[in-house]
Symmetry: C3
Subunit: 347 residues, 3 copies
């Protein structure tokens, strides 16, 4: 079961090129393409004639042409051409999904079209601010529910165990004993964590050359259904980052994480990492991307293994621990939105 | 659901060699082998002792020997030898299927044995007429219902879209605006199409060196349940091919297409292509085979993708178009035969 | 359905190294590891916190630590550490299985822990008697019920057909016409076979250089649920091996075969082969291991193919043959144990 009336990240802007793109979202087969008149468009990936997937077709002036028998659909999903046939029946149409492209991201609305409100989409100006925040992005396929990946993102204790050799380096207890602040909203939550006077992890040292201990922060802003905006960084101890807010210099990265359900048991993990240091050095971009990618591959192994067990045994008999509170708050947010939607549909 | 009382193509003659051949037909596991006394034989691929597949056995003088414990079955499916045992119980037998081998083809009858009438098998003398029709053949596995491949074969409009770079080259409209004649029989149909005064496709030009425009024909003779005998060719405009039947010279190929269901959602696509030009040139055989193989791989991609969508969503909401009439007539033929068979069985 | 109150072979001793080992046994996911205090330990392979498989974790002083959030379980399955949490709820525990390690083998008890009786485990001293019985061992994965592999081991007639080119060489009838003695016990059976005055198979000749015909024996001691202790050998005709028990010299191998169910349709086949000749020659060990491995791969092909047919068609319509008696006796033993267990559980 998915939240229907919500914006899901469907693709990176640069994934929409010369050929249509097939992507299953919330268990619906969708074809995305860049319409010559309308820009990014999302249609049902199934021709209404003989069910051929439209992603095997091609982009033409009037819209998207089926690769089997040449029917053409415009950006609204209406069939506007049937080869060698003058009359086009009115029911020759497929579903079209509202789409908004901004900040290098292509968002899709999977619910009722008249409720799609583009102002609800998160802002992420860093993607277009290459002077201050050079970045690199990708998308990973995860064979696990998007909720397990969200659990993973909003749960800090795993870093010391899953990422012991990468960003989780140093004393495990330092991670667990962070100063935390958690605030909730109807559509999400924000968690801020500080690790004061700790050893910087190897990747931080490699990036900016820390010589001593640091104050380290991490902010996680979850926006339902699937976004986690992450800002992490560290500056030298003594600069007053925690006490008076001076986070200048040092190490700082912004990671956008967006999980989009493919099926109940698989998802797409879109992420970008932008660095707020050595902005003129392409090597810095490459280094941070590589480090984060390694980390996320460690997470992927774990959540996919976890998914297999949950699919077989369910959640019966599981216990909660104190450090679950953020992910439990996230789950509650999602459940509330699902419940509200069920009620609306029921009316 | 398959037509049971029908001849299905089980194998090419040259597939029956030193070892038995396993092939699932109409969802029944069959083992084919060349019996030393009886020639081509088809048995249930399952020993009646411990269920070992007989295709792992070997051909012996008395028939086919199970590779597990050495039981031997003759061409009627009767067990004629149990190692170290004198008495052979009467129920030690497996199903045997009527088989006819002709024209390099091995046909199997999947229904009631006493209704198998070899005169109903199509004639295809070209396979043995190598002087006039040199040919090459193969079998492809398709992960789609045999009916989707038949749809594909009997539907001309797809050539311009699926095969735009191969035999479908030239003006798409020329394909759609062909002169067509369609005649029906209880066991099939015949479609004849003419494209007059058109540019020859690249493969035709490569084969015989056309310099100008051509008159082009294609005949499709569908014989239920799975055969489509195809004759296509082209001669220079002005020779009178359409008006007075002079199809001498120029380009001419005969393609035998036989679809045999493996399961409800997969099939075997047996095909041969024979060329009626440059008969002494092995390179011509190689060229035409390669060109047709490329075309059929394009079809395979499309019908397999179509099968996935149909398996998920069924046919609900689909529309028909004018150019569906031949494939719809084919489907009607198959449905009529299934209905007739259901009635006979019901009596 | 599996016999629950029984010892199953879970692993070779040398499989328990630095990292935990995941193995599904009787359809339960188990993690095996060598506890720093307790030696070999088997736990449910599923953390009671968020269901992460524990085989992704690591061995620590207190037991096994989950690789996701760091919970630690001791050898009884009790959680003894939750990071950053003082109180550990009593229900924070997972299932622990009785384990016994001996003769290089790690045995697991899948039933009620208080009924686990280590004296019921087979003795196999040859593994630790390297002076007289040098050996090599491995484990194969078989995509078939463990019962089909047991059938295979206790059925001699197949050797002439499945292994015609290896140990089954020579006259097929010699295999079938062996002198056999079969004795039964509640927990198993023992079959002894003699082939007198026969040609030695190629592998025997290669091993010890037989020049003429031999007397050949094979003993199979089946112990439910999954062990077959095999002793086979041959000496020159005339030495009196059969008549007066002189089996000195010649060729002699001991093969331990243990089948452990993974699922209803798959199993692990643990086996070792020890040779009682040329004990100082590592090449002899390598040769006999290679020969047996080739033989068992032939069996694997057959039982996996058989499994597919049985899964599709069941056992309906199958017939028995005279040479089935040993395997039928084995099946009866297993059925009796299952029935006894069902009765106990029912009480």
């Amino acid at each position: 079961m998915f939240i229907r009336n919500a914006w899901y990240l469907a693709a990176w802007s640069d994934e929409l090129g010369a050929a249509p793109l097939a992507r299953r979202i919330c268990n619906q087969p969708v074809v995305l393409y860049r319409d010559r008149q309308q820009g990014a468009v999302a249609l049902e990936d199934r021709c209404c004639h003989r069910s051929a997937p439209l992603h095997l077709g091609r982009i033409v002036d009037a819209g998207l042409q089926c690769g089997y028998h040449g029917l053409v659909f415009d950006h609204t999903g209406r069939c506007v051409e049937i080869p060698a046939q003058v009359l086009i029946p009115d029911r020759a149409r497929i579903r079209s999904y509202p789409v908004v492209e901004k900040d290098q991201l292509v968002w899709i609305w999977m619910g009722e079209a008249d409720r799609a409100d583009a102002t609800k989409i998160i802002d992420y100006p860093y993607h277009d601010d290459r002077a201050n925040w050079p970045h690199r992005h990708t998308v990973m396929h995860i064979k696990a529910s998007y909720l397990l990946s969200l659990d993973n993102l909003l749960d800090m204790t795993h870093a010391a165990y899953v990422h012991g050799n990468t960003v989780g380096g140093g004393d495990p207890m330092s991670f667990i004993q962070a100063k935390e602040e958690l605030t909730s909203r109807p559509d999400g939550l924000k968690l801020t964590r500080w690790l004061l006077d700790v050893d910087p992890p190897p990747t931080y040292v490699k990036a900016v050359g820390f010589k001593g201990r640091v104050d380290r922060w991490a902010e996680f802003n979850f926006v339902a259904p699937g976004s986690v905006l992450h800002w992490a960084g560290a500056v030298n101890v003594g600069q007053g980052a925690y006490e008076n807010g001076n986070r200048e210099g040092g190490f700082s990265i912004r990671t956008l994480n967006v999980l989009t359900p493919e099926t109940e048991h698989s998802c797409f993990y879109f992420w970008s990492v932008a660095h707020g240091y050595r902005q003129d050095d392409p090597e810095a971009t490459a280094q941070v991307f590589k480090a984060v990618a390694e980390t996320f591959l460690e997470d992927k192994v774990m959540v996919e293994a976890q998914q297999l067990r949950l699919a077989e045994f369910g959640e019966a008999g599981l216990i909660g621990v104190a450090n679950d509170r953020t992910r439990i708050q996230m789950r509650r947010t999602v459940d509330n939105l699902l419940a509200a939607e069920a009620q609306t549909t029921g009316t």
